[in-house]
């Protein structure tokens, strides 16, 4: 029996579509009246856990789920010990630095030293500024980081940008891109090595389905 950890939020719909493409139906998670966190697929060959996207690699690292679907941004942020297997190509967005449109900063290097940068992605942000040798103070926030520059708490933010609409609506502009991210298929390393319950076959099916869907 295989357990898959699926992320709540933006990646869920595509993840469920991909699961359906390999014959596993977890669409009950999309029903707005659903309150279950663990469901079996209709053929009873696999189970899915519905967890917060940050928690997907945790369940996979500890082996409670053999497979998981999660954004590359979170893998980069948390560096879990999991096998990175397939770039699933959906959920494409970019990790960017943004500032107030009215500010004078148009490149990252123009930011004043020791300025404040608000972000949910503390690790990614501090790695990035360290690589530029630019000393900044990272302020961890857990939602709506756009408010950082708006309220004047921070000069810049590091956040995921998909269409850029949220930035625009809040009068922010992107001045640099850290990396591009997409959804990834990850696996528990030991389960992958032992290939129990036909795990390898499932992974190959997902790889094939991804190529077909793109």
């Amino acid at each position: 029996m295989i357990t898959v950890a699926l992320p709540k939020g933006g990646l869920l719909e595509d993840s469920i579509r991909l699961s359906q493409a390999i014959g596993l139906d977890f669409s009950a998670f999309l029903d707005s009246s659903n309150r279950q966190l663990e469901i079996w697929d209709t053929t009873h060959t696999a189970k899915a856990l519905l967890v917060r996207n940050y928690d997907v690699p945790v369940y996979v690292e500890y082996g409670q789920a053999q497979l998981g679907i999660v954004g590359y941004d979170i893998l980069r942020e948390k560096r879990p010990q999991v096998a990175h297997l397939v770039d699933l190509q959906f959920g494409r967005c970019r990790m960017s630095v943004a500032v107030k449109a009215t500010s004078s900063y148009r490149t990252v290097l123009e930011l004043p030293p020791h300025c404040r940068v608000a972000s949910k992605f503390v690790q990614c942000a501090s790695d990035y500024f360290k690589s530029l040798d630019l000393p900044v103070e990272i302020i961890p926030l857990y939602g709506s980081v756009e408010l950082g520059p708006i309220t004047g708490m921070s000069e810049a933010i590091v956040d995921l940008v998909a269409t850029g609409r949220t930035l625009k609506d809040n009068n922010l502009v992107e001045i640099a891109q850290l990396f591009e991210t997409t959804a990834r298929l990850i696996a528990h390393p030991l389960s992958y090595r032992l290939n129990r319950d036909g795990l390898q076959d499932r992974i190959e099916q997902i790889r094939t389905a991804t190529l077909a869907l793109v």
Binding site: G63, A83, H84, L85, P189, L190, R193
Partner: protein
């Protein structure tokens, strides 16, 4: 003021100890039966000793400073200490040396991990001065023997060959080889797909990443590569090792007279992607994985270069060993319901019938203790004020015999029915 243990520390109470000893005793019996002798090395080592092999990261060592300012560390594993001790103190010893240990090790929890355990217990062996198939087989057979004595025969063994894999990585350009090795070691297929490699090399990297499965199948696949003579020899040696293990096992099965030996999965998963990101192991490497596929119960491998690092003249000496992680075994065995669930009860409670009767009671208790087998005898210390309270105490502590001893040394024996 409440004194708390340091973060990551843990006290072992009598039941924990009884369970831990249950595991360690079985493992030690196996080690003894293979002719291994126990070595006890210092808990503290110089940091440079611990790090010489390249397998230990400084950030994981709990460090201390001695009065001369020398940086010391609490050992995170035993092999470095044993290698140091063996080359410096055992010169002139005859080889092979068969050593085992059963000791605590310390590892600093990674940053960002909360309250992770920092002190662990390990039992392992080192076979020094012997190379070749027979020595490799001996080590793997001791692993199987330990698992059999712990009734953990449904574990998995993942077996690799670090020397062979390293050699198979040699066609990669210097600038990328470490990236390729790291991606293979961490099973990062996406990185292998995106590194700037030629198509041939990319195919080779992906081929190495998934070079695992049934040994015969994997050996066949690796033989399809264009191998140099040395690589071919290593592949043949690996094949011979696996055949020897299987042959030894089937003979063992046919000799088994008593308990039906389970069809032990002596066939390991051969996994040539099982490598470390550092050069420590030189030959076979392996991991023992619990039956649920979630815990690494032990690991080991061959390290033929390590001892030379500790030798004053850099003399090389082959070595191979493995370690079993006691806490991981403990967790698995506990959920299997195999470990003792109670500390052993005392056999007797000796009660003086009056304050003047202590001398007689002590003498009586001592007489019972001096039996050929261990007899556990408790002396009533006057904490219970009535015979009823004494009986209740005995019942609660699962003691089923009370000896009431008078001043004159006369004893009256009472047998209680034990409520479990």
């Amino acid at each position: 003021m409440v004194y708390q243990p340091p973060v990551g520390a843990r006290d072992l109470f009598p039941l924990d100890v009884a369970q831990k000893r249950w595991i360690e005793k079985r493992i030690q019996q196996v080690f003894h039966s293979w002719g291994y002798h126990r070595i006890i090395t210092s808990t503290l080592e110089r940091l440079e000793t611990l790090m010489a092999g390249g397998a230990v990261e400084q950030s994981t060592v709990i460090q201390l400073q001695d009065t001369e300012g020398e940086v010391l560390g609490l050992r995170p594993e035993l092999t470095a200490s044993i290698a140091r001790a063996a080359v410096t103190r055992m010169a002139g010893a005859s080889y092979p040396q068969r050593l085992y240990y059963n000791a605590n090790v310390f590892r600093r929890a990674a940053k960002g991990v909360h309250n992770r355990q920092q002190e662990f217990y390990q039992a392992g062996v080192e076979l020094l001065g012997a190379d070749g198939i027979a020595a490799d087989a001996e080590i793997l057979l001791i692993v199987f023997d330990c698992l059999r004595h712990l009734e953990l025969e449904d574990c998995y063994l993942v077996l690799g060959e670090a020397g062979l894999t390293r050699s198979l990585l040699s066609p990669f350009p210097d600038s990328l080889r470490e990236h390729v090795r790291e991606a293979i070691a961490t099973l990062d297929r996406i990185t292998l797909e995106t590194l700037p490699l030629s198509n041939d090399l990319r195919d080779r990297a992906l081929f190495l990443l998934d070079l695992r499965g049934q040994p015969t199948d994997v050996l066949q696949r690796v033989s399809s590569l264009d191998l140099d003579p040395e690589q071919r020899t290593t592949v043949n040696t690996l094949k011979a090792l696996i055949e020897l293990l299987q042959d030894a096992h089937s003979r063992q099965l046919s000799q088994a007279t008593s308990a039906p030996s389970s069809p032990h999965p002596l066939t390991p998963v051969l996994d040539l992607s099982l490598v470390q990101t550092f050069d420590y192991y030189t030959g076979i490497v392996f991991e023992v994985v619990g039956s649920h596929g979630q815990r690494i119960l032990g690991q080991g491998g061959r390290y033929d270069q390590l001892l030379s690092l500790y030798h004053p003249q850099g003399k090389t000496c082959p070595g191979i060993g493995f370690v079993l992680n006691i806490e991981e075994l403990h967790q698995v065995l506990l959920s299997d319901g195999q470990l003792p669930l109670q500390t052993p009860a005392s056999d007797w409670l000796v009660v003086p019938t009056s304050p003047e009767a202590y001398a007689a009671a002590i003498a009586h208790a001592q007489k019972i203790r001096e039996s050929a087998h261990l007899v556990r005898v408790e002396l009533e210390l006057g904490l219970h004020d009535s015979p009823a309270a004494i009986r209740e105490y005995a019942q609660r502590r699962r003691i089923n015999q009370i000896a009431w001893v008078s001043k004159e040394g006369l004893s009256k024996i009472e047998t209680l029915s034990v409520n479990l």
